[in-house]
């Protein structure tokens, strides 16, 4: 790795801890970010000459804090400090670190930094943008690209989110146990949102948004290192690894959706699968089940099947049944119906989703699944109606194109005068 690449990686990996600590000192997001940026500039000058510090995060926190304090003094005096007065002129901060840094806060620092991004006043899109900017350190340009909006629009979105957070007041006291676990749950949900932004993209956008999945996994790993005994955080990390492992197989060369049954399983990333399986295995030992663990267990059953016909659909049906009890939702029932169709046939699955029609009347996947079940039953005319509705509701061109292939098949069937068995 070249010198600059090394430094970039070190700055990226130190960022959550450093910005989190600086936020605790300055109690202001903008000041903390600015202090971190200044510390990074000094690192770029200092590190190539003096070699890498043993603890880059500690170095950045100390330098950032001193630069920030000078900045605050300068502003309050409305005049420049003489060089003697400034405390930020450290040639090498390394030796001072041991005494001056209190590392014991770092878990709550990082959690706080993540937590302020998922403030309930912020809409999901702003939460994600804020986390990617502040915690992950992606540039506004990178985030704008991932969301397919202009840089100016994203800049505005982030600025608006920041002022909302500032107005709401950031919780600086060290959280109690209950509060900490509430924060953890909110942060986990936000990380999963980031992942889904990347995962649900299709076609050209899937390539552009893949980094979102990777960033979400990185954040989950970070959280898991801080809170090592939380089975739901293990479950979340496992779930994302197992889902993302299929990334290369989910779309064909033309960007068309490839369904699980039709995917080339040799394209699945075995390294991610192995880690995902190890994590869910470890989580289950705690016997404290939760929605992320159940979803990870479902993903694990898919990952373990070498061929589609090896999939343990009966177990998947049971897991969805458990998930339905934990988090009753028509979308979960819809997913369960797919498992039911494999175990008990399309008729049983169709009966299961019939009552969902009203609540899912605007949901693309409802009509996609319904159409596929009707097609399996040879009820082609009804299938056609369902597929047409699905196309009208498609979120992406890849989704619409996928449904059109079904319609084409129906068309061929009717031209041949036969029904599909």
């Amino acid at each position: 790795m070249t010198d600059t690449a090394w430094i970039d990686t070190a700055l990226t990996s130190a960022r959550p801890q450093a910005v989190g600590a600086l936020l605790r000192y300055f109690r202001n997001l903008d000041t903390a970010e600015e202090a971190f940026q200044n510390a990074c500039l000094r690192a770029l000058k200092n590190w190539p000459q003096n070699g890498p510090p043993r603890d880059p995060a500690a170095w950045l926190i100390l330098v950032g804090r001193n630069v920030g304090i000078d900045e605050v003094r300068r502003t309050s005096k409305l005049e420049s400090l003489s060089d003697d007065e400034a405390i930020s002129n450290l040639d090498d901060a390394e030796e001072e670190l041991a005494e001056r840094l209190d590392g014991s806060h770092y878990r709550d620092d990082i959690l706080r930094l993540l937590f302020i991004c998922c403030h309930p006043d912020l809409p999901a899109t702003q939460q994600i943008a804020l986390a990617l900017r502040i915690v992950s350190g992606l540039t506004v340009k990178q985030i704008a690209r991932a969301f397919l909006v202009s840089e100016a629009a994203m800049e505005q979105r982030i600025t608006r989110a920041k002022s909302r957070v500032a107005a709401a007041g950031v919780p600086f006291e060290t959280p109690g146990a209950v509060e900490r676990s509430e924060r953890l749950a909110a942060v986990a949900a936000m990380i999963y949102l980031i992942f889904n932004e990347g995962y649900s993209a299709s076609g050209d956008a899937s390539e552009i948004r893949k980094p979102l999945c990777e960033e979400a996994i990185r954040l989950a790993r970070l959280l898991l290192r801080l809170f090592q005994s939380e089975p739901e955080i293990m479950g979340l990390t496992s779930l994302m690894l197992l889902q993302h492992a299929r990334a290369a197989a989910r779309f064909d060369a033309d960007g068309q959706i490839v369904l699980l049954d039709d995917q080339d399983r040799t394209l699945w990333n075995q390294k991610m699968i192995v880690e995902g399986l190890a994590l869910i295995d470890k989580a289950m030992r705690h016997r404290r089940s939760g929605p992320y663990q159940i979803q990870a267990a479902i993903a694990a059953l898919h990952s373990r099947a070498a061929r589609p016909e090896d999939t343990d659909w009966a177990q998947i049906d049971l897991l969805y049944a458990t998930l339905e009890i934990m988090q009753p939702s028509p979308v979960i029932t819809l997913n369960r119906a797919v498992a039911v169709s494999k175990v008990h046939g399309p008729e049983a699955a169709l009966q299961m989703i019939e009552p969902l029609g009203e609540r899912l009347s605007g949901y693309f996947h409802f009509f996609g699944v319904r159409g596929a079940l009707l097609m399996q039953l040879g009820r082609n005319e009804e299938a056609r109606v369902a597929f047409n509705r699905a196309i009208a509701l498609a979120n992406t061109s890849a989704e619409a194109a996928h449904i059109r292939t079904h319609l084409d098949r129906l068309m061929q069937d009717s031209q041949q005068g036969g029904t599909k068995t």
Partner: protein, 120 residues
């Protein structure tokens, strides 16, 4: 003498590598390993999963299972090599070559007392 070369690095740092950076480091390391393999000096090589996948069994008193790695340190044990070397200098030489391929972190070089390559 067999030497174990234990690979320590900051997991946050290694975890922040892009896939391309990771692959580049691995292929550089493979070049060093190939040389040792040709000389018949390379034993088992392991890259461990992240410490988030680790579980620790404390066996003082009643055995207790804990999540996470044994030691909470800035740098974690990420993998190891077993290499056949004439002496410590030779083992340090190998570690030096590996380090040139993958800078940062540290290698701990430990002479191996007992080595059973397989269960049979």
């Amino acid at each position: 003498m067999l030497y174990a070369i234990l690979c320590y690095h900051d997991e946050d740092f290694v975890g922040s590598w892009t896939r391309e950076q990771d692959a580049a480091v691995m292929s550089k390391l493979a070049a060093v390993q190939d040389k040792l393999k040709k000389e018949g000096r390379l034993g088992p090589v392991a890259r461990l999963l992240p410490t988030t996948a680790a579980t620790t069994l404390r066996k003082d008193g009643a055995p207790v299972v804990l999540d996470g790695p044994y030691a909470e340190t800035k740098e974690q044990l990420l993998g190891f090599y077993i290499v056949d070397c004439e002496n410590l200098d030779a083992a340090l030489g190998v570690a030096h070559d590996l380090g040139a391929a993958n800078p940062g972190g540290a290698y701990e070089i430990r002479p191996v007392g007992l080595f059973q390559p397989g269960g049979k």
